[in-house]
Amino acid sequence: MSLTNYLVLASLLFAIGASTVLLRRNAIVVFMGVELMLNATNLLLVTFARMHGDLSGQVIAFFVMVVAAAEVVIGLAIIVQIFRTRRSASVDDVNLLKS
């Protein structure tokens, strides 16, 4: 029973992360939303690992952290570059390519 709570928490965090992506304007915050989704998944994986008594879930969580870090590096580079060019980090200002 207690483990179920972790799953609920993970789902909640995931949903909050997704909502952040959809609703926030600042690219950095949007990106933090994505990170939150990844970490929510980590929680999910670790919980399931515990439930199944299987370690691979934890290993995956490690990998996800590393991948997330790499993503941060790339993402920051792109966002900072955009910011330096346009003096704005709002995702709504980046709107030249459309229809």
């Binding site: 997704a18 992506v21 959809l22 609703l23 304007r25 949007v30 995702v91 709504d92 980046v94 709107n95 030249l96 390519l97 459309k98 229809s99």
Partner: protein, 664 residues
Amino acid sequence: MTSSIATHLPAAVAFSTASVPAEGLLSLAWLLVALPLAGAATLLLVGRRADAWGHWLGVLASAASFLVGFAMFIALLGRPADDRIVNLHLFDWIPAGNLNVEAGLQIDPLSLTFVLLVTFVGTLIHIYSVAYMEHDVDRRRFFAYLNLFVAAMLVLVLADSYLLLFVGWEGVGLVSYLLIGFWFQSTANAVAAKKAFIANRIGDLGLLIALMLMFATYGAVDFTTVLGGVDGVSQGTLTAIGLMLLLAACGKSAQFPLQSWLGDAMAGPTPVSALIHAATMVTAGVYLIVRSGPIFDGAPDAQLVVVIVGAITLIFGAIIGCAKDDIKKALAASTMSQIGYMILAAGLGPIGYALAIFHLVTHGFFKAGLFLGAGSVMHGMGDQVNMRQFGALRTYMKATYITFAFGWLAILGVPPFSGFWSKDKIIEAAFVGEGWRPWVFGTVALLGAGLTAFYMSRVFFMTFFGAKRWNDGHKTRPGTALSKQPVQHPHESPRLMVWPMIVLAIGSAALGGLLSIGNVFQTWLEPVTGHVEEHEPVLAVWLIMTLTLALVAAGLWLAYVQYAKAPVPVVVPVGSVLTRAARKDLYQDDVNDALLVEPGKYLTRSLVYGDRQVVDGAVGGLGHIMVRLGEVVRRSQTGYVRSYAAMMTVGLVALVAVVLATRI
């Protein structure tokens, strides 16, 4: 796998589908396609350096192909009738899972008839073009396309599967597109080319869907399997396949309701009109239906639709032909109408298949002759096409006049010219049957003959008889409308143009009669179309023949009174409602335009140059709906990352919901 199915079939199917592998001379059939293809490739690759001799290479390639075809014909005659369906395997083409398509050629009386027609008439038109296109800087390219067309057309008729047929089908479409737009300097040509392309695509879609239905039903698309296996297939499926094939035929053969492009295609060079839009490509639809005979025999409903389409187009084309003042457009309308006859015949079932092909062959000769004649007139009259500005040309262009007269008598069906033998048979066959059908279709076919006589005589008289209605430079009174026209010096065309016309005129005169002696043509086709007992028409044969000839005479007389005896106004008279409607292709063109072409035409312009009003002006139509839909969907592409993410989220939720919904 295919052969095993064939051997399990009862021997007494109406259509013989058993084929034997090619050997000896017949195994060289690939040369038929390879020769013109090599010609085209050489002309295109060598480039400007071939300008001096390129056209003769084109003629040579086509003529060589004809000689090979003729040799095949002799070889096939040397075989017993049952062995005349020969299959030449070329290579494994598409092995994909259960579908294994081989590229192969089928040499049988039907395909060989086409081969001979295409290469013979094709060669004549090649020769004619040498002179006709003499002053065109791009003559070499023109010949390359002509050769390419011949190759594609031969692929179409020689294919042993619907898929390879489709390759040829698309090929001729593409090349005809290139040829109509050959003088692409003029916008009208480019638009006409596009119109033809769009109409053809709709037809092609039909063929594509038919292909899929065949594959779904038989697991194969080769003639042997598909046509040999109709017995085990439900009538509904056959009807669906048949209707799709008919759609394809309508697109290619300019039949109702996809006929509108043919008139505009006349914008291309006249030899192209003669070769592609009279003798060969436009008859591919007839070939498709005759080739698919077993499918239509198993689907009477589809067959009925075929007859109806043929009948409608036959009258439709004839009425339009009565009102056109452009000589080429009048001939185009007549082509439409004559192909209507063929489609009608093909829809009558086994009794009509051979007749359809017979008329196709004779029509190939006399219509090509008529077009070349028209080209010759244009050549002599400074590219004038308006018949109201012709008149009395018989004294200036003797050879053209006489050869044109032969074609004219042939299309009228005056005995003993070719058209009499083929068209009369179709009219007779249309009167065969029970219930309402023979009366309706027979009457339509009969009326068509009368109308044909009228509008073709109209063309003939307006061009060669009556008073001079062109500015000859000295006898024209100054100040009249006529004197503003450019001065014409009508003259006979060069010999290179006249000789092909003479050969075709001889064909128009004699071919029909020769091939009718002892039903030799029908017997020749029997291995493919099946043997049919004679049926009695609902009216006596002598009565039908008399009625036909009477109507033809009436039409001729009417035209003579109106256009040879009475003066023809140079300025177009207002005319009756029907005449005005017919001048506008019975408004069908406008309907099709609104549906298909205008939106596309204006869309291109508007998209390229941004005049939006034109698009909004072209309200209605299939193309327009598509564009509107596109505009609506395009709005979802807002450019905002967050709206994209929202779209993805909604998509995800929908996906999960749909997937989970299956378990509830």
